[in-house]
C-alpha cells in the first residue's frame, strides 16, 4: 500500500433507498486522508448519514465505488471494512449493548475474537483515553448522555479503526456534554493514529476540522477549510445552515469598516484580530 494512498475514497457515488425513491446521493466524490479530520455539514436530509452508512457497508451504492484503506466496499469485504471504520451514532442509548461499561466496550472486541488478556489491556487504554476509567462497572442507566457517548467512542476505538465516524454524536447532548465530546475527540485526533469524520449540522463543531465538506441535496456543494467556509455566510444561509455568532459578528464588523483580515473561528481569534488592529493601522 503506497503511503500517499487515500484512506477513504468515494468515486462518483449515487445512492437511493429503493428503485421508486428519489436519489439521496447524486454523483458524490471526495476523499479522506490518513490522520485527517474531515467534517461534513448539510441540512436535514441532505444525505450525511447515508454517506456514513455507505462507508462501512451498512448500505451499498447503486452507482460508483467506495474504497476504504485500499479495499473496495462490497458484500465480501464488509467485515474487513468494519474493522477499519468505527461509527458512533446519534442516540446514546440505542448503541449501548452491554449491561455495564466494560461489557459494552468489550462488545466489538468480542465480536472480533480478541483474546481476553488483550481485551483487558485495551479496555484500560481506551477508558483512559476518554476519561472514564472510574466507571468500568457502571450500568448505562446511571450514565449521562455525554458519558454514554464517550463510552461509545471508547468501544469503537478499542478495535483500533483507521477512521472514526461521529454521526451527529453530540446532537442529543446538552451544551456541556457537547463540549466534553468535542474535547475528547480533539484529544484523540491529536494523540492517536486515526482519521476523523464528524457529521453535524452545527457549524460550531467544524472549526477544529482540517477540511469541511458541505452537502446540499445529495451533492457535494463545497469543500474547503472552515475559515474559508465562514466567509461564505450568505451562501450557507441560503442552503439552510446557521452561521456561528462569531462569524456573523466578524462580518458585521467588516461592514462597518474595521479591516479584519483573517476569518476568525472563535472568540480568541477575533479578540486577537481586534487588539492587534491598532498596531497594523
Amino acid at each position: 500500500m503506497s503511503s500517499n494512498e487515500k484512506l477513504v475514497e468515494f468515486r462518483n457515488v449515487s445512492f437511493r433507498y429503493g428503485a421508486e425513491q428519489p436519489w439521496v446521493l447524486k454523483n458524490c466524490s471526495f476523499e479522506i486522508d490518513r490522520e485527517e479530520w474531515v467534517a461534513i455539514i448539510g441540512h436535514n436530509g441532505s444525505g450525511k448519514s447515508t454517506i456514513a452508512k455507505l462507508m462501512n457497508g451498512l448500505l451499498f451504492p447503486q452507482e460508483g465505488e467506495i474504497y476504504v484503506a485500499g479495499k473496495k466496499v462490497q458484500e465480501d469485504t464488509i467485515w474487513d471494512v468494519r474493522k477499519d471504520v468505527g461509527m458512533v451514532f446519534q442516540n446514546p442509548d440505542n448503541q449501548f449493548v452491554g449491561t455495564t461499561v466494560q461489557d459494552d466496550v468489550a462488545f466489538g472486541m468480542e465480536n472480533r475474537g480478541f483474546p481476553r488478556e488483550e481485551m483487558l489491556q485495551r479496555l484500560d487504554d481506551v477508558l483512559h483515553a476518554v476519561g472514564m476509567v472510574d466507571y468500568r462497572l457502571t450500568e448505562p442507566h446511571r450514565l449521562s448522555g455525554g458519558q454514554k457517548q464517550r463510552i461509545a467512542i471508547a468501544s469503537v476505538l478499542a478495535v483500533s479503526p483507521k477512521v472514526l465516524i461521529l454521526d451527529e454524536a453530540t446532537a442529543m447532548l446538552d451544551p456541556r456534554g457537547r463540549r466534553d465530546i468535542m474535547q475528547t475527540v480533539a484529544h484523540l485526533q491529536a494523540n492517536k493514529d486515526v482519521s476523523l469524520l464528524t457529521i453535524t449540522h452545527d457549524l460550531q463543531e467544524i472549526v477544529q476540522a482540517d477540511r469541511v465538506i458541505v452537502m446540499n441535496e445529495g451533492q457535494v456543494w463545497d469543500e474547503s477549510h472552515p475559515r474559508e467556509l465562514f466567509s461564505k455566510q450568505d451562501d450557507l444561509l441560503a442552503i439552510g445552515l446557521d452561521v456561528p455568532f462569531i462569524a456573523s459578528l466578524a462580518k458585521a464588523l467588516k461592514q462597518t469598516g474595521i479591516p479584519i483580515t483573517k476569518e476568525p473561528l472563535n472568540h480568541e481569534e477575533l479578540l486577537e484580530e481586534l487588539w492587534t488592529l491598532h498596531s497594523r493601522t
Binding site: W79, D93, V97, Q102, R112, G113, P140
Partner: protein, 265 residues
C-alpha cells in the same frame, strides 16, 4: 435516575456464596429441589434445613431481604399447612376447636409439606439474592452448550437475555417519563372504572412500543457496525471460573445427600 432501581433482588456482597461459580449454585439448587422430596422424617428434614440455613447465614444477606423474597409465598405455605391439618385424619386427636378434631398425623403432614415449600423457596431465592442476572445468563449459556449440537440457538438466547437486562431500566425510565407526560395532560391511570383505566393505558403503551421498535432497529445497526456476526468465533470478556471453592462445596453437598439417604426411612 433512582438508585433503588435494581433488576432482580441481587444483594451485592463478597461472601462464599457470592463467590461460587453460578453454574455450581444452579446445579446444587437443581439437585436440592429434587432431594427435598426424599426427606420423610425428622432427621432428614433437619439435615436439609441445616444446609439451607447455613447457606443463608454464610451468604451474609440481611434477613429482611430473605424475608422479602418469601412474602409472596407465606400465604401458600400457611394454606398447605391448614389444608393438611384439615384433611388428614391419622394418629391421635391432639385437640379440638369447636367440634373440629385436629389429629397428630395432620399436624405432622402439614408441617412437613410446608417445610418443603419453605426450603425450596429459601434456597432458590438465595440464588437470585447472591447472583447477578448477567451471571445467571452466563451460567445458562455455558450449561446449555451441549444443546448447540442439536442446533439450539444458545448464544442467541443468552444475548437476548442480556440485551433485555440492559434495556429494562431504560424502558422503565421511559414509561415513567411518558406516564408523567400523559398525566400532565390530564390522563388518569389510578382512579375510575377498570375500563376507563385500561383505556388510559393505551396512550402510554403506543409511544412505548413505537420507541422500543425504533431502539431495536438502531441497536441492530449499531451492533452490526461494531462487527457482530453471530456467536461463531466470538470470545468473551466475562468468564466463569470453577475454583477449589466450588469443589469444596460439591463435596460438602455430596455429604448432605449421603446423610439424607442414611437418615430417611
Amino acid at each position: 435516575m433512582n438508585n433503588a432501581m435494581v433488576i432482580g433482588q441481587y444483594v451485592p456482597g463478597n461472601s462464599v456464596v457470592h463467590r461460587l461459580d453460578p453454574r455450581t449454585k444452579i446445579t446444587i439448587i437443581f439437585i436440592f429441589v429434587f432431594v427435598v422430596f426424599l426427606a420423610n422424617n425428622v432427621w432428614s428434614y433437619t439435615i436439609l434445613t441445616v444446609f439451607a440455613l447455613l447457606s443463608m447465614i454464610t451468604s451474609r444477606v440481611p434477613l429482611r431481604f430473605v424475608l422479602k423474597g418469601l412474602t409472596p409465598v407465606w400465604f401458600l405455605i400457611i394454606f398447605t399447612f391448614l389444608l393438611h391439618v384439615i384433611i388428614t385424619k391419622e394418629g391421635d386427636v391432639v385437640f379440638e376447636i369447636f367440634t373440629f378434631q385436629v389429629y397428630s398425623g395432620g399436624l405432622i403432614q402439614g408441617f412437613a409439606i410446608s417445610m418443603r415449600f419453605f426450603l425450596l423457596i429459601l434456597v432458590t431465592s438465595l440464588l437470585t439474592l447472591t447472583t447477578t442476572p448477567i451471571e445467571i445468563t452466563d451460567a445458562i449459556e455455558s450449561m446449555l452448550q451441549p444443546l448447540k449440537k442439536v442446533k439450539f440457538p444458545v448464544h442467541e438466547l443468552a444475548l437476548m437475555m442480556s440485551i433485555s437486562l440492559r434495556f429494562i431500566p431504560t424502558l422503565l425510565q421511559e414509561t415513567d417519563k411518558i406516564s408523567k407526560a400523559q398525566a400532565s395532560r390530564g390522563v388518569d391511570f389510578r382512579t375510575g372504572k377498570l375500563k376507563d383505566r385500561i383505556q388510559a393505558v393505551v396512550p402510554l403503551l403506543v409511544p412505548l412500543f413505537v420507541s422500543a421498535f425504533k431502539r431495536a432497529e438502531e441497536l441492530a445497526m449499531a451492533m452490526e457496525a461494531r462487527g457482530y456476526q453471530g456467536g461463531e468465533g466470538r470470545t468473551k470478556l466475562r468468564e466463569l471460573k470453577f475454583t477449589k471453592l466450588d469443589v469444596g462445596i460439591y463435596i460438602l453437598f455430596i455429604f448432605v445427600i449421603l446423610g439424607l439417604f442414611f437418615t430417611r426411612n
